[in-house]
Symmetry: C2
């Protein structure tokens, strides 16, 4: 049985739509490529954003518990002012000297362990992962890449080819090997590290025997598209050693966990007690402005930079830099990570209380403000669990709360509010979650 | 003898620098990856931009005859206002309905021939070319790509592998075939089309005999990194037919020629009287805001969209869309293309007059406001010509005018002012060009 790779989407005819939205969708279909998918059975239509809230054309508010790009909240005035002021002054490129580029690079590097002391800017997380693979392949002299079962690392040809989450229609590279996470395989925590390392060692041997060799272990430490199977912390450490012994590099895809999403740390790899060779940044870096980066150890970064020409027209332009600088300044100044920890715990306790009262929640995992909540009854079939998760997401959308689904079976809720989320927003979320789950499971 | 792939760059110790810039460069080197290159023997340092001008920290103005990203001029107030206003309202993604995305998509599509009626947005020209290759390979079922000798199509792994301009350190794909342009090969105009088509037909046969097949002919119709060898118009038409007969697609890389750079047309392919299957957009689309697109025929676009999942987090966000919409509106409302034609002719006549008076100009080609001017004496060696072009670029920089070099031998000036360039700017450029060339050749 094949799983719909994006179950939470609009399908024409499934739900009755208001005339205004139906008309906009038909215009949209006539000009946009078929790649575009709308979320929810009844697509949402927003005209205004503010902090944790999005507003439809009738000014109805929706509580955003899904968008991890505007991690400081929608339309942050201070971030927007930094962008607008810089755009009015100059939008310089990196072939000209501009102090603000250096200032921000220094600030960003300072948030990493001392070993990671070089940065190259990009425009998107996909470009970051694509560049990191190029650096790792050149530095290692190898081509092989190891990723997790449902990993997603981006849209370029090279990263799509190491993203099994894209499904059968996107061919995987012959040089990629896939390893299972211990969590969804039901491995106990005390065996998780050995389970993971053993697979990575086998993959390395296989890559070596085919003359491909290992270039990189590439992972998103929050394992977001695998279903947020993040525990136990540190379970990847043995695999990291195995890859290094074989001459490969460690790439930590920080597009999802980075910039404080996990609360305890600015960067996701820290939760596992490891230091990667390269870290790839994206999504929340500019609170919506297209900017990403590869931060790495000098050796592979210098080897690549001295050997290959790489220039990226828009990347590192001062408008993006000023915007990202404002984001990092606010994250640090307002101690957002502390709030992520405490609000994350508050949300966790709230979901646990609902799980104790109502049926339909089979499990839950979180790091800071990234949650995976497994939906379905214990005795239900995978398709039933998936359908229940989808019903729940759409019921909550109808009640004004935005979330979506994840995991191999797409039966886990993916909950990831902007990091400025406060107790009052959690209360509202829990109220709608409780009501929707109660309706669906009764 | 190998040619320096980026001759116009800063090399430590080559020129004496002011303390302020020397200090900034040493800080820069300590945090930025070695990929970063500064232009000019004495790097430029700008803190303010306005229209055709960039200003250094001492408020000294530099006339910009090089930057093709801010094609409406630096810090365009109307474009910046559109960006800031949209950022204050909402920065929605494409999985939610937002009328402005559809409005702009319709407007953009309307500037193309009727056959090209679908658009997918990206963040950079590299992402556009990477996606176009994925679409062409899926639609054709083939892998082979044909490009010109010194083509550059971007930074992602897949497009770098079809960019011979990056030099020996970046491996080309085994699936790429390279064809020579008629201009630099010295082929007369009346034989140019046959010369080009014959090579493309041989490349197709070779790709087919190896079981690779032809996915796409990928070209920048202004052939900017090949040295602006653009003539005669239409010389690629026979090659286009040959590729289509063999089941391949035509990808017009509009990152350089698009959005009116050539003056006569909004899109570069029109100069050659052909209609491609896919056109890739980037650089000037948002006057500096990171936005690009693939515009294409429905059939390959729908085939890709229905088969493969493709989503791009930042691409199509309403802030980028509002910015690009302002750019397109101004291009059309202010009849910028007409001005490109007339100012381009004025600049051409000015350079011709200097070439008649002074030695050192061996040839010149232009389409609108994109010029390639071959530097060197008729009897000088390639290295001497290259050195002279480099001296000239640096002399003009010292006199406050920004240009750079291109072509296989890097002995052609690359002149590409913002499209708002007026006669007064051309006069200033010609004055500095005349003086610098006179000094260097005397």
């Amino acid at each position: 049985m094949s799983v719909d790779l994006m179950p939470n989407r609009f399908r024409p005819g499934e739900a009755e739509l208001p005339q205004r939205e139906a008309h906009l969708i038909s215009r949209r279909d006539a000009v946009l490529g078929a790649s575009y998918r709308l979320q929810y059975r009844k697509p949402v239509h927003f005209v205004r954003g503010e902090g944790m809230w999005l507003f439809d054309p009738d000014d109805r508010p929706y509580l955003d518990f899904y968008n991890n790009v505007p991690s400081l909240g929608h339309c942050h005035p201070e971030v927007n002012a930094a962008m607008a002021e810089q755009a009015a002054r100059i939008s310089a490129n990196t072939r000209y000297l501009e102090p603000q580029l250096v200032d921000y690079a220094e600030k960003l590097i300072a948030t990493f362990p001392a070993e990671l002391d070089r940065v190259v800017f990009t425009c998107t997380g996909s470009e970051s992962n694509d560049l990191a693979l190029r650096i790792a392949r050149l530095a290692s002299g190898n081509e092989g890449v190891i990723v997790t079962s449902y990993a997603y690392h981006g849209t370029s040809a090279a990263v799509a080819a190491v993203s099994p989450n894209l499904g059968a229609a996107v061919n995987l590279s012959p040089n990629v090997r896939i390893v299972e996470l211990p969590g969804p395989a039901g491995i106990p925590h005390d065996q998780a590290a050995d389970f993971f390392e053993a697979q990575v060692r086998l993959a390395i041997i296989d890559l070596q025997r085919r003359g491909i060799g290992i270039a990189a272990l590439l992972f998103d430490s929050i394992f977001s598209s695998d279903g947020v199977w993040i525990d136990p912390p540190g379970f990847i450490a043995g695999a990291v050693d195995a890859v290094r012994e074989a001459g490969g590099l460690i790439i930590s895809d920080e597009v999802q966990p980075g910039f404080g999403r996990t609360g305890d740390h600015m960067w996701g790899f820290a939760r596992h007690g490891i230091v990667p060779d390269l870290a790839t940044l994206g999504k929340p870096m500019g609170n919506g402005f297209p900017i990403g980066a590869v931060v790495g150890r000098s050796q592979p970064m210098e080897h690549f930079g001295q050997t290959a020409r790489y220039s990226n027209t828009f990347a590192g332009n001062t408008v993006g830099i000023a915007t990202a600088d404002a984001v990092l300044t606010i994250l640090q100044r307002d101690r957002i990570l502390d709030s992520v920890v405490s609000v994350g715990q508050y949300l966790r306790h709230g979901i646990e209380a609902i799980a104790a009262e109502l049926p339909g929640i089979r499990g839950m995992r979180n790091a800071g403000l990234f949650f995976g909540v497994d939906i379905g009854f214990e005795d239900s079939l995978p398709a039933q669990r998936r359908a229940m998760a989808l019903d729940l997401v759409n019921a909550m959308r109808d009640d004004g709360v935005l979330i979506s689904t994840t995991s191999a079976n797409e039966d886990a809720l993916k909950i990831r509010p902007p990091l400025i989320c406060q107790h009052e927003h959690v209360d509202k979320f829990l109220e709608v979650f409780h009501n929707s789950l109660g309706r669906i499971t009764s």
